[in-house]
Subunit: 598 residues, 2 copies
């Protein structure tokens, strides 16, 4: 049976050595001090929860899946109990302000915990993640009375939550949504309509479920300008927070999916269900977008979490599976064959996994610190971090989930035929992970956001902010000869990023189809450059540690070797993406709609 | 419900226009003439069988899967009846010599049929494909008496067959196998041992199953030099071909797999089962390798078949799904939104699918003609074709199945969230297809075969054979100015192929790990160059047709546009693979086995 061990050493490396987290946290304006000891205790508790409570449900949850009968969803054995422990341990409210009943910790802390719990069992983790949807919406758009009415029981884990955007005819194009809300005149609204793909829309884990729903009020403008946000509980919630009667929130079916089988994906019918509006009328999408941005980084985190899981599985198998001899002589002469980790191509697969996984961790954790700064930093820090996040969120969501597809693919490939069967859990990683490039906005949607809205939409400003960071980094370390092998190619691709942007921008002025034609390859190019910067910084951190000579040399040398692998073998892909992005839009637009097949 | 329509027009284009199949077949030495009309009748019959008999079982077969109880396997509803029709229609013996009870047709014909039936339902198709394993082994190594005893009922579809190599501890490293065979002294052998991953090892489709098994005789040398080939029936077969008693061939379990759920993958226990040796003692692997070569092209065909299926699904959905407006103005002004095929990034995905699918079809069908020549051509033709096949079989197996992963991925991506649920059949394509880069030799194994055995092992001769074909092609068409956009980059990457080979070869002489370090990227590079040659030839064929002006202009213009797409957007990836292949072996070998994670 596959197991999961939290990558404690690498998380410590990224937080303490790479990101100097203790200094970072000491400078934030927090409700309570986050001391190094407290951080360690949280990380340790999260690791144990992931390993001991959630990981054991990984394969059984997939095998049992969710079942649907007579409007009721049954989740796998143990899911409810694990959720109870999650709530009881105070994990659900980790980042909620103390005044609102939470722990008041910065987002980056809960993201570390989220990586571990997510690696252990992403499907289970979704019930906790989606419960943050109504919490976030309430914090951003709820009155004190509404917060008091709903938050305590969600934060205690007694209730869960959902996020309801998609309808059968509208996914990416949310402006087409039809769910209606009518004003009851008493501060409540009645919501009627049908939503699909609602994770945790119905379940037997909690006694109540609070739905955050996008809907149109009567007479609202068409399109995205006429969408409001509501919270609608499955069972009515009285002012004192006690449960009332059933609120006409019905689950019509659950989907049969490729993976995440233990996360119930529901068709939800709101048949005149009562709820409350959050924020202003017709401004619901703006509120939901605040949630979407963190959901996108959360999905990038899924890419990391699944990558870690695939890497751990493949590495363990490569060390133990005996097959053929090393071409440089037997490495396990007393056995019938050598462990397959001796073979260069198996190592190529493992190194690729390692480079994407550890690079992704360093990148996402750094990004999480930027999220911290937007809430708990100085005004200037918050502004700088916000601009970086605007640019880098679609890159993180797109690139971390796309690269995770490759990492999960390689996880199966290292196992050979044994990867295709359920026993080792590798095919489950690939199935569970497959949705990550789709939900919270497909890679295509992230790419349009990146190129159209962020890069060209800011006249290049948001990109220059970041390429300047990279440029200054290269300059600042130009005197370090040990870094030359990384800085020279980094400076070069960073320069090319600017050139590529200029060319795409110019072409886009002449032809409106250029943005869409170039976008995904542009995003992938951007991701490879960003990871080059990350790996150069990891190399720098590791070189410094080796120079200090305080031990753990193998760890730091492995980081250096992985940085080299990244620059030598993965970064060259950036140029293939640049070439594709620079192809004329006619490369994709030449055919008539009826000329793709005959 | 997803449907499948055989791509009749493209198959006709590839066979008639691209490959001049009628001339090809008229020159072969065949048992019976294969006239253009007969070819059309076979293609039409194959298309109808695929569409009407096999395709309807695609989703139901996956949903039902195979079940195992008390040693018996139950296959999905309709599988046995479809197999009966397959046998009755004479499809099983299409390529078997007339003297041995078959139709005596060349391999390329059955591969066209195989594409269609495989697209319709690859899992069902496996029962027919594996039945050819004992047939091929008997034809290559069986006495006339054994052929007469076994072939008729396999060819009639009354019996099926398997191919048994893998054991729990030996997959790629077949030399480790332990299954034993002892000589009974009466012309029969008793086989004892256990095999895993045996497709169709047990089923309820046919009354008997004939297993082709690799095993060791007593006192055989260790490793691959001591392996012999046997056929062992589930029920004993008397000399007159009638069924005898149960032959101690037991199914111990079936695997729970990611996909191909309706193809029973069995643990098989041979508990003193009687059988016959084929060919010479200790020479079984050589016989099996003849089968493996065609199985590898057959698996490349899986890549094509699944790609076609993913492309058809995505294209239909892209035409029908309404979501957002074209950036150049509404294309469906009367509807609530435009069909997503108007969006450049959706087109990028469809064009990528089209380029790999149609390029793969042209390549594999051309390769199938080379297979025809090895059996039915002149001595010189057979020799030339054999050498091309030695080089190109691992490229086809590796590249067509790897690119098919991307095509299947894009099939889901075009569908967005709807691709992740079972309803549209797209996630099933991805699951069914995932094994193709693994079985019949992983991409890593194909790459070692390509670089180590074929390219460097022949001192570059096998590669020069093919790069010369490409070089001469470029020269022959250098006067055609309309071809310049394809020929210039083709000549360039062809030249780079030689250079890459020289560099890898030189490095390999100094360091034995270079072959394995470079191999998969070398194979992928080779695949991109090969497809460039294929797409240049498709462009040439299409330009000529447009010049003749005999109609169907849209079809040929679409081919030209797809060739351009391939050269502008996919071929640039070749250089990223070259860069990775040229990275020093230290890029993957630097870490100690215990330094991949801490």
């Amino acid at each position: 049976m596959p197991s999961y061990t939290a990558p404690r050493r690498d998380i410590q490396f990224v937080l303490r050595e790479f990101l100097d987290a203790d200094t970072h946290y000491s400078k934030l304006q927090l409700d309570n001090e986050l001391s190094p000891d407290l951080l360690d205790a949280i990380l340790d508790g999260g690791a144990k929860f992931a390993e001991d409570v959630v990981a054991p449900l990984y394969q059984s949850g997939d095998a049992e899946g969710c079942t649907f009968r007579d409007g009721k969803v049954t989740t796998p054995t143990g899911y409810a109990e694990a959720f109870r422990q999650w709530g009881e341990g105070g994990w659900q409210g980790l980042t909620v302000p103390v005044a609102d009943g939470g722990q008041g910790l910065p987002a980056s802390v809960s993201m570390c915990v989220g990586e571990m719990v997510g690696s252990a069992n992403w499907a289970w983790n979704m019930y906790t993640g989606l419960s943050l949807a109504p919490v976030t919406c309430l914090l951003n758009g709820g009155t004190e009375a509404l917060k008091a009415r709903f938050l305590p029981k969600i934060l205690s884990g007694e209730w869960a939550g959902t996020m309801c955007l998609t309808e059968a005819h509208c996914g990416s194009d949310v402006g087409l949504l039809r769910t209606r809300a009518s004003d009851n005149g008493d501060g409540t609204w009645t919501v009627t309509g049908s939503k699909i793909f609602i994770s945790g829309g119905e379940q037997d884990i909690t006694e109540n479920i609070v739905h955050a729903i996008l809907a149109r009020t009567e007479g609202a403008p068409e399109g995205t300008a006429g969408i409001s946000l509501f919270i609608v509980p499955k069972f009515w919630v009285e002012e004192d927070g006690s449960l009332g009667e059933f609120n006409n929130v019905n689950c019509g079916a659950i989907e049969r999916k490729m993976g995440l089988k233990s996360s119930a994906t529901c068709v939800m019918n709101y048949d005149g269900a009562r709820g409350f509006m959050l924020g202003e009328e017709n401004r619901g999408l703006q509120l939901m977008f605040k949630l979407m941005n963190s959901a996108r980084i959360g999905t990038a985190m899924q890419g990391l979490a699944m990558s870690e899981r695939a890497f751990q599985g493949a590495l363990a198998y490569a060390r133990e599976r005996l097959q053929m001899r090393s071409l440089t002589g037997a490495k396990n002469p007393d056995g019938p064959a050598d462990p397959i980790i001796v073979h260069p191509d198996v190592r190529r697969m493992l190194m690729t996994q390692k480079a994407f996984t550890e690079g992704g961790r360093a990148f996402i954790y750094w990004l999480a610190q930027q999220v911290d700064l937007t809430s708990h930093g100085s005004e200037e820090e918050a502004a700088t971090a916000s601009e970086l996040l605007e640019l880098l969120t679609p890159i993180a969501k797109g690139f971390c989930t796309e690269s995770a597809q490759e990492v999960a693919y390689l996880g199966m490939q290292v196992f050979g035929g044994h990867g295709y069967i359920a026993e080792h859990g590798m095919e489950q990683v690939a199935r569970d992970n497959r949705i990550a490039t789709v939900y919270e906005g497909t890679t295509g949607i992230q790419s349009l956001d990146l190129v159209g809205r962020k890069v060209l939409g800011s006249g290049g400003k948001l990109l220059r902010n970041f390429t300047r960071v990279i440029h200054k980094y290269c300059e600042a370390h130009s005197g370090n000869s040990a870094m030359a092998e990384f800085l020279a190619p980094l400076a070069e691709v960073n320069r090319e990023w600017g050139e590529l942007t200029m060319k795409v921008g110019e072409a886009a002025m002449a032809d409106a189809e250029v943005v869409g034609s170039a976008s995904v390859d542009y995003l992938m190019f951007s991701g490879y450059v960003t990871y080059a910067w990350v790996w150069a910084r990891i190399a720098e951190t590791s070189l410094a540690a080796l120079q200090r000579g305080e031990g753990d040399e193998g760890f730091y040398r492995a980081k250096l070797a992985t940085a080299r692998f990244y620059f030598q073998r993965l970064l060259p892909r950036a140029r293939a993406h640049a070439a594709a992005a620079l192809a004329p839009a006619s490369s994709v637009m030449a055919l008539g709609e009826d000329e793709f097949a005959f």
